[in-house]
Structures are given as structure tokens and as C-alpha cells.
């Protein structure tokens, strides 16, 4: 796969949820292309379909219409080829397993091999390998979830509001941690978030979405230099991008 080829290719994706009050158009003819190694955020208010889009790309949801390609294959084949890693809002760890055994789970499922203790050390939980998840703070648990999502060497990391349940300080620490990790790994990341600042700080591109029907409002390149740090948040370029996204969202609502 040459660099620059599309890691994720979405064409005309549409999906409705059927509830008691009729159908809700969660996604309306979405087109999206994410290059290999690109970090793309989906940002928007609740109900804009950003999670639905992520789930359709990961093969967790069968959209009613449209097409998804992940590194040239459909999502189910991408699952079969173990191309995905997933981090959700709740860590979803297995409480009966230690941290290390949780991170080992993908290796058991896929049959892949990896240096688990090195990975634990890299995400900053090396000394907690034998702990049970319940003994860890929310931020630490999410680090375990991140290590678990990366251990089998995925090509596309799907992150669904991964820091949404954390307190502000843990959030900031996790953002920087993720930046550091991603800047050394450079795998494709699709990152769903409510936070405009978070999206701008982390991403190469920010895709702005709006609800009813779920659609893409804007697709902005973030021309800020890497490696990035939180000092960036004070620069005029950063503030200008955040302001522009916020304006787009306000206009749509």
C-alpha cells in the first residue's frame, strides 16, 4: 500500500434509525476519504451521526446505503484481516483479567505476537501490569484500552470519544500521550469527539458534522506543525481554526 492511498473511503453512506417517533436520518449521503497514516477527527454535536459513521467504518453497523472501503476492502474483510483497533468512551476492559491479560486479549484472538510489557511501558502503565482494572483510575484504564487497541498492530485505529468520560486533567494528559504515540507510529486514526479544541490539537484534518440529517458541514486541514504540544493552544492559528469550526456549527444549528 503506497503512502497517500486511501485508508478509509466512504461513498454515499446513508443510515436511518427507526424508533417510536419515526425514522431518524443518522447519516445522509456521507462521502469521506482518509489517507493512510492520517489523523482525522469527526467533531459535532450529539446526534450528528459521528459515532454511527465510525461504527459503519468499523463494520459494527450495516448502513442502509452506500459503500465503505478500508484499505481497499469492505469492513468485514478488514475485521478479518485484523486491520482495526478500537477505543470506546468506556474502556470495556474485562474485570476478571489483569491489565496485562487484558492487553493480551487481541493476541489470543488474532494469534499475533507482541511484546506486551514494552507496550505497557510505552503507554505509561508498565508498573500496573498485574493490577486489576478496578484498582486503576479512569485515565489509567483508558491507557490500558489504548494499549489493547494497538497490541496486535492495527492499521486503522478507531476512537469513539475515548477521553469523553475522563476528568479534564486526565483528558489533557491522555491527549498528549496519544499525540506522542501517534507521532511515532503514524497509523491511520479516526477520532470522534465533542471537543473542538481536542480535534484541532490532535488532527491533520477535522471533519465537522451536523445533525438532522447527519451530514458533513466542513472538512478542514489543520496546518499546525508537529510534534504538537498543548502550548499550541495559545497560538493565533489554533484559535482561528477553533473559531471557524465553532462558527460553522453555530450556523448549522
Amino acid at each position: 500500500m503506497p503512502t497517500g492511498a486511501a485508508a478509509i473511503e466512504v461513498r454515499g453512506l446513508a443510515h436511518r434509525y427507526h424508533g417510536a417517533e419515526g425514522a431518524l436520518q443518522a447519516l445522509d449521503r456521507i462521502d469521506l476519504s482518509v489517507a493512510d497514516g492520517e489523523f482525522v477527527s469527526l467533531v459535532g454535536p450529539s446526534g450528528c451521526g459521528k459515532t454511527t459513521l465510525l461504527r459503519a467504518i468499523g463494520g459494527l453497523l450495516q448502513a442502509e446505503a452506500g459503500q465503505v472501503r478500508v484499505l481497499g476492502v469492505d469492513p468485514e474483510e478488514a475485521q478479518r484481516r485484523r486491520l482495526f483497533g478500537l477505543v470506546s468512551q468506556e474502556p470495556g476492559l474485562l474485570p476478571w483479567r489483569s491489565v496485562e491479560a487484558n492487553v493480551r486479549l487481541p493476541l489470543e484472538v488474532t494469534g499475533a505476537g507482541a511484546d506486551v510489557s514494552a507496550l505497557l511501558a510505552r503507554v505509561g502503565i508498565g508498573e500496573f501490569a498485574r493490577y486489576a482494572p478496578r484498582q486503576l483510575s479512569g485515565g489509567m484504564r483508558q491507557r490500558v484500552a489504548l494499549a489493547r487497541a494497538l497490541v496486535h498492530g492495527p492499521r486503522v485505529l478507531l476512537m469513539d470519544e475515548p477521553f469523553g468520560a475522563l476528568d479534564e486533567l486526565s483528558r489533557e494528559a491522555m491527549r498528549l500521550e496519544l499525540l506522542r504515540l501517534w507521532e511515532s507510529e503514524r497509523i491511520t486514526v479516526l477520532f470522534v469527539t465533542h471537543s473542538i479544541r481536542e480535534a484541532v490539537l490532535l488532527s491533520d484534518r477535522v471533519v465537522v458534522m451536523a445533525p438532522r440529517p447527519g451530514r458533513i458541514l466542513d472538512d478542514l486541514r489543520v496546518p499546525l506543525p508537529r510534534p504538537r504540544t498543548d502550548a499550541l493552544e495559545e497560538t493565533p492559528e489554533f484559535v482561528a481554526l477553533v473559531t471557524r469550526i465553532r462558527a460553522a456549527l453555530r450556523e448549522a444549528s
Binding site: L86, E90, L105, V109, R134, L158
Partner: protein, 258 residues
């Protein structure tokens, strides 16, 4: 044992022990004071005497009943869990199997004892069958709920890895169901004893049920009290055993340990 641990244990054990002791004293004084006939209410010491006079009689009967109860419990739990696995994986099969299972629950099991006796004879067979039928439903319902109670985020994670149903079952569903399985066992262990003793009442052939029938016929009220005590002790020990195993197995679960 540390002093703190000792204090904690004595805090748990002491109040009920004192209460029971007080109860025995009041019971004893009342019987003496009102000169109550022994066949109506024997003094505690007579109950104790009945138990130690012929402990073999109680022990043999207890083993008989326990075997039937645990046999039924084991068979029912295994079958119910197996069915639950099927039902947890298929809504269609769940819809098909639930009504008949419910029928087993709502049918007064005593009513089909004659049938069971015809099919299984007069030995341990019908006792095991009754204990099994009475403990079947709690395990089935709990196991279905437990097997479905998986963390959706953990399930999503395994799905994007293309984990097989088998892998999801062993690594996620089965461990997730264990707290529910133990909850079912805590319900069904005493029920299994009820089933066995009821069957013995009906057949009169052996076990604690028969012992009670005989004691009743002999106006042996101390024997009746003794039998009740033995059955209570059996129920308590079995429940404690379940709790002990649960505490060992479910160290990760909130409800375990305490």
C-alpha cells in the same frame, strides 16, 4: 487472626448468637413455668437429646436427602445452563423454549409426583427429578440474563477483531454470566432441599422426609424439631459453601467478598 479481624468476626457472630441463646432460655423457662406437654413443645434440652440419642438416624437420612437434592440441583443446573447458552445466542430459540420452561416453573411440581414415581420408580429417581424440576427455572433465567449481560464496549472491541462466537463465549460471555449463575445457586440450593424433602413426604421411602413422617406418627416432637434443625443446618452449610466458592471465583466482582 489479628485483633481487628477478631473484633469484626465477633461483631458478626456475637449478636445473633446472643439472640438465639436468649431465645432458648425464654423457650426453656416458658415450657417449665407453664408445664407444657412435651408432644406440644419439648424443652430445648429434649431436642438436643433426640439429636444425640441416635445421631446415625439423622445422619443417614440427611445423606439420603442431600444426595437427592444435590443430584437434582446438578442435573438441573447443567441442563439449564446449556439451554441458556442456546437461548442467549438466538432470540428465535429463546422464544421457542421460554414458554415450556415457564410451564415447568408455574406447575406445582407436587402434582406430577405420581407421574415421576411411575417413570422413575420409588427409589432416589423421583426425588432427584423433583429437586431438578424445582431448581431448573432460576438457573435458566439467571444464566440467560448473565450470558447477555456482556459489556457492549468489550463486545464491540472483540467484534472489530473478528473474534469468533466461540472466543466471545469463552472470553466474555461465560465469565460475565458467573455472578448470575452464583445468584441462581443461592436461590436454588435451599429449593433443592425443599424438593427432596417434599418428594420424601410423598414417597415415604427414605431420607429426612421419611424421618419426619415417622417422628410425626410417633408423637416424637423432639425428633421433629431435631429434623428441622438438621435441615436448617444443611441449608445453611450449602449456602455458605456456595458463597465461599463465589468469593474465590468472583474476586473481580463488586458483589463478592463484601
Amino acid at each position: 487472626m489479628t485483633a481487628a479481624r477478631l473484633r469484626r468476626v465477633s461483631g458478626v457472630v456475637l449478636p445473633p448468637a446472643l439472640f438465639v441463646l436468649a431465645l432458648l432460655v425464654v423457650w426453656d423457662l416458658y415450657v417449665r413455668w407453664r408445664d407444657v406437654k412435651e408432644y406440644l413443645l419439648p424443652p430445648p434440652v429434649e431436642v438436643f437429646r433426640a439429636l444425640v440419642h441416635d445421631p446415625g438416624r439423622f445422619a443417614d437420612a440427611a445423606v439420603e436427602s442431600l444426595t437427592a437434592a444435590l443430584g437434582g440441583l446438578l442435573i438441573a443446573s447443567a441442563v439449564a445452563f446449556g439451554l441458556a447458552v442456546v437461548m442467549a445466542h438466538s432470540r428465535t430459540l429463546e422464544r421457542a423454549l421460554y414458554p415450556p420452561a415457564l410451564l415447568v416453573k408455574v406447575t406445582p411440581i407436587v402434582a406430577i409426583y405420581p407421574l415421576l414415581a411411575i417413570w422413575f420408580g420409588f427409589g432416589i429417581g423421583p426425588k432427584v427429578a423433583i429437586a431438578a424440576l424445582i431448581t431448573f427455572f432460576p438457573m435458566l433465567v439467571n444464566a440467560v440474563v448473565g450470558l447477555r449481560s456482556i459489556d457492549p464496549q468489550a463486545h464491540d472491541f472483540m467484534r472489530v477483531l473478528h473474534a469468533s462466537r466461540w472466543q466471545v463465549f469463552w472470553r466474555l460471555r461465560l465469565p460475565s454470566s458467573l455472578p448470575y449463575v452464583f445468584a441462581a445457586l443461592r436461590i436454588s440450593v435451599p429449593l433443592s432441599l425443599v424438593g427432596a424433602v417434599v418428594a420424601e413426604f410423598l414417597s415415604g421411602s427414605s431420607g429426612m422426609g421419611q424421618l419426619i413422617l415417622i417422628a410425626n406418627g410417633d408423637f416424637d416432637t423432639p425428633g421433629l424439631f431435631g429434623a428441622a434443625l438438621v435441615l436448617a443446618a444443611m441449608g445453611v452449610s450449602l449456602t455458605a459453601a456456595v458463597s465461599y466458592v463465589e468469593g474465590r471465583v468472583l474476586t473481580w466482582h463488586d458483589s463478592s467478598g463484601g
